[in-house]
Amino acid sequence: MSDADPDPPANTGYDEWADALADGGYFIECANGHGSLPPRRVCPECGSTDLSEEPLPKTGEIATFSEIHVAPSGFGEDPPYVTAVVEFGSVRLTGIVRDLSAEEVEIGTVVRPGAERNDATGNRLIVFRPA
């Protein structure tokens, strides 16, 4: 069902945010200190519209993960691959773990974020590597 699309439509806000992960990245913080990710007009936690871009912590800790053996059609990543949710201060990111086997990944493992391109879809792909 998925045809490879090397040049997918833009998602303004998200695209710039994902690309910036190569240089450390940022997140959105509201006046009350709640974190969120773009595109964002209002804090989903408290409704504040006083939002600013703040630098993402350089490393984060794996909060949960799974080694996925059955991938969606057309995804491009060969299973099995490890997907993890990683906590960076007041925000969490979801991405694929590189350079660690499933046996080596644990809750609490410290990683740094990065962004690649998914060759099959052309989409940005959030990745984590051991810090």
């Binding site: 069902m1 998925s2 998602n11 998200y14 969120s36 990710l37 989903p44 909060a63 949960t64 993960f65 799974s66 080694e67 996925i68 053996h69 059955v70 991938a71 969606p72 059609s73 057309g74 995804f75 990543e77 691959y81 997907t83 949710v85 925000v91 969490r92 990111l93 979801t94 991405g95 694929i96 499933a102 809750i107 998914n118 879809t121 989409n123 940005r124 792909l125 959030i126």
Partner: protein, 388 residues
């Protein structure tokens, strides 16, 4: 506010219906429900219809007029979509329409056709229920998302794969006698443990199957049931809905499902029923861990206690609170857009006494259904009671 009765229920068998169209599946369930109710199709004032992935599976959007026509109804219809909770919200809105006095006779239910797609295509289609930008692009599948929740649960509260295998074994045992179930066979704890990994820590027998099927309910006002001398002994006395952030990464606690807790609190309050008055429940066990988290969100067990419920026998057919006597999504099957209606159809049969497993709950008067969308970013809870 008028009361709402379940006048009739209809189901297709759940499983693989090779070559059958979605419209034909729904028509079968709808006609069965009208027949069960003893209500003519031209009495129905509106169809509330649940469907999730029809635009992907059959390239058919705008399904309400298609299935309204297929069922021979003379009214308009509306399609509801909240992923796997689509039929749950369709029923809830039908209940609200009857209560408001706007309608006396509603048909509510849903349909999903899935087995015409390959497993990889179904995986892709179901993933559409997750957050495209922040989850799906990172390889999160439907099993993968529940695997992330299971790992977080084990880390926070303990428990292991064997606890989950007991959930699978229980629900398969319940499905053996259910003529509508996809898998009318037992699965042992050992078989569940030995099945191949899908998304660690979840294995194949932690997951519900890929299913074609449809469900339909005829819902009427108490007054209509009395005026037409309908045999409608079961009432829907409570309804509630809850919501949460779509992406797991944005939840405060990945091991909990507050949307279901909110839906349950609303439904309990609406019905005037406490959780300890519930005699049996049908919960959304798309994965074994989902049943565990549901039991805790519905206030049947404290956090961390739900994981051992099946293993201890608390939720087996002989336990204090039988859960998923239909076989659940796990063994009865999960045609996603039909499931919320199927749960209420099964609960109605269980309470009326005409379900193959009604003998497990001969004195039951209060049942609860729990239907979830995505990773429980949407949840719908209904309370059903024997009214007469």
């Amino acid at each position: 506010m008028t009361g709402v009765r379940v006048a009739g229920v209809g189901l297709t068998p759940f499983g693989e219906h090779a070559g059958r169209t979605g419209r034909d599946l729904f028509a079968e369930a709808a006609l069965a429900a009208l027949d069960d109710a003893g209500v003519a199709g031209d009495e129905v004032e509106h169809l509330n219809y649940g469907n999730f992935m029809g635009a992907l599976a059959e390239r058919q959007g705008h399904q309400a007029p298609i299935v309204t026509e297929a069922a021979g109804l003379r009214c308009a219809g509306t399609r509801y979509e909240e992923a796997c909770a689509s039929a749950g919200v369709a029923v809830r809105e039908a209940v609200r329409a009857v209560r408001s006095g706007e309608n006396d006779v509603m048909l509510a239910g849903g349909m999903e056709r899935m087995t015409n797609l390959s497993t990889a295509e179904v995986t892709e289609s179901l993933a559409v229920a997750a957050d495209e930008l922040f989850e799906v692009r990172a390889g999160v599948t439907f099993p993968g998302a529940y695997a992330l929740m299971a790992r977080a649960y084990f880390d926070e509260y303990g428990g292991d794969r064997e606890d989950l295998a007991h959930v699978a074994a229980k629900n398969h045992a319940n499905a053996v006698n259910n003529e509508y179930a996809q898998y009318q066979r037992e699965v042992s704890v050992e078989q569940a443990l030995d099945s191949p990994a899908v998304a660690s820590p979840l294995h194949l027998f932690d997951a519900c199957p890929i299913t074609d099927g449809a469900s339909a309910l005829v819902l009427v006002s108490e007054e209509y049931a009395a005026e037409h001398d309908l045999d409608a002994s079961v009432a829907i006395t409570g309804t509630g809905q809850g919501g949460d952030r779509a992406a797991l990464q944005d939840r405060t606690d990945i091991a909990r499902t507050p949307a279901a807790a909110d839906a349950a609190a609303e439904a309990y309050g609406d019905a005037g029923v406490a959780s300890d008055e519930v005699d049996l429940a049908e919960v959304h066990d798309c994965f074994t861990i989902a049943e565990v988290m549901a039991l805790e969100a519905l206030d049947f067990f404290d956090p961390g206690e739900g994981i051992g419920a099946a293993r201890r026998g608390d939720t087996t057919r002989d336990g204090d609170l039988p859960v998923n006597l239909s076989g659940g999504l796990k063994a009865k099957g999960h045609p996603v857009g039909a499931t919320g209606g199927s749960q209420i159809a099964e609960m109605t049969r269980l309470l009326r006494g005409d379900h193959p497993n009604s003998d497990a709950v001969p004195d039951a008067t209060v049942g609860l259904t729990h239907n979830a969308g995505g990773t429980v970013a949407s949840a719908v809870v209904h309370v059903l009671e024997v009214a007469e």
